[in-house]
Amino acid sequence: MSIAITTQFICFTVLSLVVIIGAIGVVLLESIVYSAFLLGGVFMSVAGLYLLLNASFVAAAQVLVYVGAVNVLIIFAIMLVNKKEDLKPINDIKSRRVISTSICLTLLSLLIRVDLTNVWSLSSPQNSIGEESTIRIGEHLFSDYLLPFEVASVLLLMAMIGAIVLARRDVMSKDISTGLPVDQELIEKSSEPLLTNKN
């Protein structure tokens, strides 16, 4: 085995292990802050897998969007509202666990089936684009994938309007969902800094 292939194999093993163990940790850890940071690690490792596939632009975009924006915002939100509260015990926890485990196992078996039946190898030398891939992605985004690209921007616009509606209730006289006049006192209270009571 040549050195390049060995390095690639070691990187692949480490990255896949980090992705799998990290993802399990995100689900199973009790502390939500740990889960959020682990999620960042999982995103980073997925970016590493993209790098191994010679998709450097996708890897960098993955880091920028998922780690730099999504994960930072998740952590940000968790830290702004990090209240220590006791979770209510759920009565039928056992049956719920059985159901969720069976659903997850079914999904897993489906994925394994997909993995075994599908033919993964590509015939054309498409995986050797390398550095040129950035240009190809740009061309595709502005030709045959233009509509999904634009629809995604509409989605972002909707999310932004939603966020503004939620954050700036004081500019509206009526509550959006109930139609009742807004209780201004509550808004004053909610606009106080959240961390003043934390010691």
Partner: protein
């Protein structure tokens, strides 16, 4: 434009002369540029710390460090040694793992970004195709480290500092990326080497600063904000937050933050010089000088001359910008958090968007000046 020293090739040929296979020669070569850049970054930090002390002293009519070496040049080394031997304290109620991982996560992306800083045609670690985009992506990891250390310190000042750092970093990343995008539009490439080569046509006249004056100013403001330098050092505003996310840190962990912020400052200065000030280019094109001296451009003497002048020019431009950043730090007051966010979202973002639009229009209207 494929000229200039190719050290890797010569080094590999040299090792092959001893009967080593090309693969082993490559493996021996690999760590060398990385180590070299790491050393360059650390030496750069030492120089910058000394400059910071001396210039701040001059701005306040003091003398500054004087006794550690001539003109106090050894002062930063003394600082570093002090931090190295200080006790490593983890507060009793802090979260040990996150507390340790935070500074590492802050420093590593900054050092990784040096991958794409070119000091000459072939004088960079890796001419990756995504070039400048790699830096933008990597610099977006940093806020996670800051949030992590702010949270793990279990201290309200630290948490507030971390939150401020993340908010500031996210809001200034957008105009930063947009002003880089305008440059990329003119270059037709994300690679830093291509960006410099595109500016090398007519010496100082073809530098991007003349074609992108607005982008230059936006980028510089955003770079200062990303480095958390005064006037944008709200995350560690000492009058309000003790020292922000660094409050609980001591010894080498604090030194990692310190190193990270200074390496980031030098990196930003280098990138400004690469994007807007012609990178390794001499104000007068080297080709003209070679023609004046009647020497072919591929002559060994000219090649060594070009390479060394390239390194000198890059470092000189970067340190000029570092000097401006230090002067700004010691002469301007800090902005408030609402002013900071207003500046980022209501001023820099629309301006950089308009800049991008105008650049695209100019590129179509005058392709010979704005890259075809």
């Amino acid at each position: 434009m494929e000229y200039g020293l190719d050290l890797e090739y010569s080094f590999n040929e040299f090792l092959k002369g001893f009967g080593l296979s090309s693969e082993i020669a490559h493996i021996i070569w690999l760590p060398l540029p990385m180590l070299l850049v790491l050393v360059a970054a650390v030496v750069g930090v030492l120089v910058t710390v000394w400059l910071e002390r001396k210039i701040s002293a001059a701005a306040q009519q003091r003398i500054g460090p004087e006794y550690a070496g001539a003109l106090g040049v050894l002062q930063p080394i003394a600082d570093g040694l002090k931090l190295l031997v200080k006790e490593d304290i983890i507060p009793a109620k802090a979260d040990g793992i996150l507390f340790t991982a935070g500074p590492i996560l802050v420093l590593v992306p900054v050092i990784l970004s040096w991958l794409i800083v070119p000091f000459g045609q072939n004088l960079l670690i890796s001419n990756v195709g995504i070039g400048i985009f790699l830096w933008i992506a990597l610099s977006s990891i940093q806020p996670i480290g800051l949030l992590m250390s702010g949270y793990a310190s279990n201290n309200k000042y630290s948490l507030l500092g971390g939150l401020r750092a993340a908010a500031q970093s996210i809001s200034y990343e957008i105009p930063l990326a947009l002003s880089v995008l305008a440059i990329v539009l003119m270059t037709n490439s994300l690679s830093t080497v291509d960006i410099v080569n595109q500016q090398s046509g007519a010496g100082i006249l073809s530098w991007n600063i003349w074609r992108q004056p607005v982008g230059f100013i936006v980028f510089w403001i955003c770079a200062l904000a990303e480095c958390e330098r005064l006037p944008f050092d709200l995350p560690e505003a000492e009058e309000e937050l003790v020292a922000g996310y660094q409050t609980e840190y001591a010894g080498m962990k604090f030194a990692l933050f310190y190193l990270g912020s200074y390496i980031n400052l030098i990196l930003s200065a280098l990138l400004v010089s690469i994007l807007y000030l012609g990178g390794w280019g001499f104000p007068i094109p080297v080709e003209l000088i070679a023609k004046f001296l009647n020497l072919p451009i591929n002559a060994p003497f000219i090649q060594v001359f070009t390479a060394s002048i390239g390194i000198v020019m890059t470092v000189l431009k970067a340190y000029l910008l570092v000097f401006i950043a230090i002067l700004l730090r010691w002469t301007t007051p800090r902005v408030r958090i609402d002013q900071l966010l207003d500046l980022g979202w209501k001023f820099l973002l629309p301006i950089s968007l308009a800049n991008l639009l105008i650049t695209a229009g100019l590129k179509l209207a005058f392709p010979q000046f704005f890259g075809g």
